[in-house]
Amino acid sequence: MKKVTVHITLKQGVLDPQGKAIQESLNSLGYQEIQEARVGKYIELQVEDGPDLEARVKEMCDKLLANPVIEDYSISTEGARQS
């Protein structure tokens, strides 16, 4: 098994109203150094290992996990092979 994590974020240039609200809240708490906040999703998958693991996860992202019209994603694989 491998642990694969997928990070999904709104594309740069796409307005992120949640991020904007968080930025403004942080600013109002006095953290003026926050210039921007962007909100994304984190999805953790336990996957049976295989030769085309990354390609399959990429396919899952394109088909369901991310919406390519508004979102970008990155995939990272970690963890050693377990018996």
């Binding site: 709104l10 307005l15 109203p17 949640q18 999703k41 369901l64 919406n67 019209v69 508004i70």
Partner: protein
């Protein structure tokens, strides 16, 4: 004309849709549970509003991958009418039957009130009952109705006259005030405002009746011509 109202887990405007076509328009209609759906004998498919799968992942995303979507895509490819309202619109964009995507409303709040819409296209099977430029009142009820598409798609929508309705006072931040769009072939309409909740004066507006009447009339004209 026989309508199928597809019911997903979490659909909650299915009965309003059913009421509109069955009781107000006096047409045949069935509520069809998505897993048992056989859509072969229906003339039109209605995707109601609600929160299919609790809006998990993204509104409409999970429903768009369900088996019934294959039948809906086939139905759409055959040129038969498909109307998606609110969550139905979200499902249609996620299923790529319509371009673009839905985002959270500009001010993040769920909104539920009447909006004035401008009819932009009076030449589709859904809108021949209206006049271009006519202002109609439909309720909206959504948290993620902020329609987004890139410049290229927007130009395409304009060039092909695919924008059906725009908001007079854009409540959610949608690109180009878009409230509803039609696919290129002209037989799939998605819109965030609820025509099915504007079918009786009692409800505050009956401007939605003409949308359903247009579908029925155009279907009859086509059907009569082909028969």
């Amino acid at each position: 004309m026989k309508f199928a109202v597809i019911v997903f887990p979490g659909s909650n405007c299915d009965r309003d849709m059913y009421h509109a076509v069955k009781e107000i328009l006096q047409e045949e209609a069935d509520l069809v549970w998505y897993q048992e759906a056989n859509l072969e004998n229906y003339d039109a498919i209605l995707l109601p509003g609600g929160f299919s799968y609790g809006d998990y992942l993204r509104s409409g995303a999970v429903a768009s991958t369900s088996a019934v979507m294959k039948q809906i895509k086939k139905h759409a490819a055959e040129g038969k009418p498909v109307l998606g309202v609110c969550n139905g619109f979200q499902v249609l964009t996620e299923a790529e039957l319509l371009p673009g995507a839905m985002m959270r409303n500009k001010h993040l709040s769920f909104m539920c009130h009447q909006e004035s819409l401008v009819v932009e296209n009076d030449n589709s099977i859904f809108t021949t009952g209206y006049k271009k430029g006519e202002v109609v009142r439909f309720p909206i009820a959504h948290g993620e109705g902020n329609y987004f598409c890139d410049e290229e798609i927007l130009e395409e929508l304009k060039a092909n006259n695919q924008i059906a309705f725009t908001y007079q006072n854009n409540p959610n931040g949608s690109v180009a005030d878009i409230a509803g769009i039609i696919n290129k072939a002209g037989n799939v309409l998605g819109m965030m405002p609820h025509p099915e909740r504007a079918v009786e004066a009692l409800l505050g507006s009956d401007d939605g009746v003409k949308l359903f009447q247009s579908m029925i009339q155009n279907w009859r004209d086509t059907y009569a011509r082909n028969a």
